[in-house]
Symmetry: C2
Subunit: 785 residues, 2 copies
Amino acid sequence: MPAQEIPVANPGALPSHLPDEVLQLAAKFEKKPLPQNVQTSLRSFQRAACYIAAAMIFLRDNVLLDRPLEPSHIKPRLLGHWGTCPGLVLIHSHLNLLLRNHSSSDLELLQVIGPGHGAPGALAALWLEGSLSRFYPDEYPVSANGLFNLVTRFSVPGGFPSHINAETPGAIHEGGELGYALAVAYGAVMDRPELVVACVVGDGEAETGPTATAWHANKYIDPRESGAVIPILHVNGFKISERTVFGCMDDKELLALFSGYGYQVAIVDHGDDWEAVNEELAATMEWALGEVREIQGRARRGEAVVKPRWPMVVLRTPKGWGGPKELDGKKIEGSFHSHQVPLPKAGGDETQLRVLGEWLGSYKIGELIQDGKPVQAILDNLPQDDGKKLGQLKATYDAHIPLKQVGWEEFAVEKGTEQSCMKVAGKLLDSMFQANPKTLRLFSPDELESNKLDAILDHTQRNFQWDEYSRNNGGRVIETLSEHDCQGFMQGYTLTGRTALFPSYESFLGIVHTMMVQYSKFIKIANEVPWRGELASINYIETSTWARQEHNGFSHQNPSFIGAVLNLKADMARVYLPPDANCFLSALHHCLLSKSHTNLLIGSKQPTPVYLSPADAGVHCAAGASIFPFASCSGEPDVVIVGLGVETTLETVHAAALLRRLCPSLHVRLVNVVDLMILPVESRHPHALSEERFEQLFTRDRPVLFNYHGYATELQGLLFGRGRMERFTVRGYKEEGSTTTPFDMMLVNGVSRFDVVRWAVEAFGGWGRGRRRDPDDIYEMPKFE
Amino acid sequence: MPAQEIPVANPGALPSHLPDEVLQLAAKFEKKPLPQNVQTSLRSFQRAACYIAAAMIFLRDNVLLDRPLEPSHIKPRLLGHWGTCPGLVLIHSHLNLLLRNHSSSDLELLQVIGPGHGAPGALAALWLEGSLSRFYPDEYPVSANGLFNLVTRFSVPGGFPSHINAETPGAIHEGGELGYALAVAYGAVMDRPELVVACVVGDGEAETGPTATAWHANKYIDPRESGAVIPILHVNGFKISERTVFGCMDDKELLALFSGYGYQVAIVDHGDDWEAVNEELAATMEWALGEVREIQGRARRGEAVVKPRWPMVVLRTPKGWGGPKELDGKKIEGSFHSHQVPLPKAGGDETQLRVLGEWLGSYKIGELIQDGKPVQAILDNLPQDDGKKLGQLKATYDAHIPLKQVGWEEFAVEKGTEQSCMKVAGKLLDSMFQANPKTLRLFSPDELESNKLDAILDHTQRNFQWDEYSRNNGGRVIETLSEHDCQGFMQGYTLTGRTALFPSYESFLGIVHTMMVQYSKFIKIANEVPWRGELASINYIETSTWARQEHNGFSHQNPSFIGAVLNLKADMARVYLPPDANCFLSALHHCLLSKSHTNLLIGSKQPTPVYLSPADAGVHCAAGASIFPFASCSGEPDVVIVGLGVETTLETVHAAALLRRLCPSLHVRLVNVVDLMILPVESRHPHALSEERFEQLFTRDRPVLFNYHGYATELQGLLFGRGRMERFTVRGYKEEGSTTTPFDMMLVNGVSRFDVVRWAVEAFGGWGRGRRRDPDDIYEMPKFE
């Protein structure tokens, strides 16, 4: 078999067999010629930004190329991704133009960039517009020194990293794992009618499932209450080393696909002709904004707007546009060879250095940056109002709107009754939504009723514009069977200042495991960035857990999302396992008002005993863990049994009652843990109990059984480092169970009351073992047998 | 705000504003009238299967309704999902018809069902066709007793669970987490030119990202070498409690969307007219198979086939079709109310019992099942050849083709050199692909070159049919930027008897965390099912790990997939961290030939020292962990340092050298762990070391530092239960690092050589501590300083 002929340059997509009629789907609009001065200012901005982006990848000196390039000017290690940069620069310049053209309107334009590896392009544009200077006046002023720092410190320890992150002004999206930009963009515009988000989706990213379904998010945008997203699919044809799916689709395939998603599609494609692309793209962005305004106008005037065809743009440009055309007979521009560093040996190889010099020289940067400042032609591209610049929009960095509080105690239930955590949570949330009709949303993968949170719908509704029953109703709830969309919406909504919840079947939250980790990485850095304001936490509610999946069986049993949260930085990670409805209310209330955490709440949708009064529940949750006195002896116990989770706690309560009856000489203490983070040693988490407090609860040396909701290994890891670990036994879900009874689920996983009793008696030394006890040391019989 | 008017019945999609020309995209074909006897046999099968499916949800007695229904006949707890069953039955009957019509051809038809909660429909059909009887002759024979068992034991402990799983004959897909059926179907047909997979995708499932991108998988099917998938999008309009996105799309939107994906689309929609639907669907399935044969014929005759428009079917039927029309004024049929149990109080409510009786009675089951056997009209729908029945196709249960072996030692490298694990792995795989040109595939999210596995492409190629450069070339490699597709392809390919690998950047494997768990759940049960044959393992290679993400930074650092594998059942979970290239080869070779495991191999793409000769590497990997003698004292050490992972091991090797020089009186032992599963106590994993062997390596009581590649918590959990845990210190990745140097990554995460040295000296009692030593007790200087 011969070696594969690697596609070296984008040959254009092979034509499909779709009928020509499909071409009629293309958006039709009038194109005004672009005035020469506008063309000049666009090109000046583009040339300067492309130059700077390239320089950031290569140069450690001579950053304005004011002398011939020498090997000593080249960074010792070349890092960064060039391929996508020219496209990002192109788009930035056209968003600037749009802002200028509509400076008298209330347009707020926010950019979400999917291909975050194009950080050099984004940062170069942000330096030119003065946004880096705004937030980093010492490091990156608009001056020769600022530019020197930007170029030489890029991808170097202490400088900007190679991907867009929370240090990038204007960014609300971590530029690492691909696929999520579009859902984040849609989340950002919800309940912000003034906002338009231009979302750049790379054609690599577009291959991901999360992006593939996020195109459907147009169906959840009410043009009256929310802003609009203008997606820009940037097709440069190649990924790291192969053609992209979208790069191989012809215009007919693209028009059909995105029309099917419900969009009006405009395709901008003029090969490598910058001026033609500028003219076409400028007209296209005007058309897109016009369509947005038209749809919004109709809706806001009270017209019924059914299935609006929101605009989207397909932008075809060569990968690494403007970079070296070829090297050693290999195409670079317009091929995957320009994905990262197109001249990887520029520091050592004479030819590559020469090509680099020619390439960088082609931008004539001396004409564009003078005395360390952009020339007037570049300034002419920038929005007049600093606050509207893409890097300085307040919505991107300091937009938090605190929720109006509602007391959770109002919804508390009576101790001794049986209640569903979710039923009461639904009532609290119903009230929270009424108090916060524009700043709180809930996203769920179609399981709100199934999860018994239906009280939420008492005063609000589902918001699904494609369905006549839920169109135009201001609903606070979006149910879509895409966990990725739910997560992306929550991220976009939270990062622009609001608060959101994501309830889900427990087993399916893991679908967004890495996405949550990416978000948390963004937040970790955001917390370290002084110019970013505080944000609400993101809030997960897990219910329909493995312990009550007797109806759905084995495939619906997976508590692994706990582990995902546990591995986050301690500053962020919060996992709560409230044992009953009142505790759930208290913990939920706490989470909704907390800041910058990743909160995971786990509860049951089935009615279960309420152990604590509202007052006691509040105290218990604040403590994180307490002794349940009604199920514990007074004084020092022989053994300690610990419940973590609704059903696993219930089993310990039953076990305590059984032990009381069957083995009265055995003194047992029952501890319930609400806050998982109290368990590790103090250095590991801010909530961790002091050793003294830990011993007050778990004794100094008695055998302790942790009857845990999650996987035993993770709890064992959390406990590691606490004294005398040999006395700890940890039981948890161990991947057993099918469609069976709830109690059988407890049995097959070894966490039933009988397992607890057996452990306790063995730890105690046997049923027959008696010892003298103080006759007063008799604890009350548990009520919940 | 008034409470939301819940959509109670599918009102049909609101019309979109797409132009009428789009309707021309619909597939055009001739429809022959369906002979009455065929219509009769279809309807007989459908009526019987729908009856049985409904009975499975409701009845514990009187299963053939041969006497009036009484409350005592109703199961005490009603479990199951009715809504999707009639559609699954309909499709099953038409696949039967297709098999009958083409019985003289070599057609092999395999069904993959996305909406696995429709198990009653699937199982009812499988009983009727005798496939349950084949595999469960004692429990579910084709007899009155077999039917009684099927009905009464469904969703009851010991009987079939509520979702399709590995116990279901003909199934190769776990019916739990939605979204993956389509990618699995595409994986199944690869390299099986005779196979046609009919893949049922529910309209709920179709909202997921993984399904949304799996439609693009048509672009990876070479019609010469592979079979074909006929996707059937089953649109019944509702999920658990809301309309579906696809149910709200009109014909024009659907035609445009799926034409854009590259398909020819046929829409079957005749409301609730069974006979009309049968006629239309029969013709449509014939058309679809004809199109498949036409495309394959052209390709297999050697014609260039460019962008073939593979057929797909959109099937609109009412949800819960044939069930109760309404109850208490609420629509049931054609609404979300029929999703699960449409008459939830049938056991206690007189009205509901009556409605149930009328509903079940409407099928006239007595006409269809006589003496416990299906009547001739039903038998007339079944394929004549048992081996071709959907439940008995060998490809679904016993198809494993062992790989031809290639010795890994041939690619081994010299001890003392520096080599990339991935470079050598690429060479072994190149050779494996040559030896196994039709039974081994590799799926990767576009990172093969970036991961330094490019030697794989020496004798094979990428296989991407939409790209003229990689079309029709028999390539073993698919690179697509969808981890979900990669995982689904691997599952389908493996479950139909072949072997696959999935290399990835470490940080992005977690994207398929829950998908891998679902697959492993299927395998766990498959291993318990006696009639299923053995299968190859699934094989992940993680590289470009956090330890060498100095160029991509923080967003590309996430070793959490280890934890996902650790939490699987011990029978399946395998995690290998080979410290060098030779060990990697040995471990990879072992994994490829292993059976039914979920193998995770973690290695480095950068050149790193080769510590062991090929022979020693083989012994080391088989042992799972050994002392590295070149970096250890002889005899009992003062401290033990343990490397787990390439870079973390290298740091321990350097630390040993530093300690030798700086603190010569401190005797250190260096242990390397390849197989993570040797660490837990014996009861927890088959690979776990005995306590005796554990102490031989890690001593009985000396301080031990585990310098670990992953998160410390999971390793601490693994070690939990080993004796004297207080002496263990565990360090690992702790979510620190940016675009920085590789060594800085070690420093900021506390796993650098200096951290190891500092720990060792502190554990030893300080630098100054001297003690007399035997002068011969001097270990060799490590070579790898």
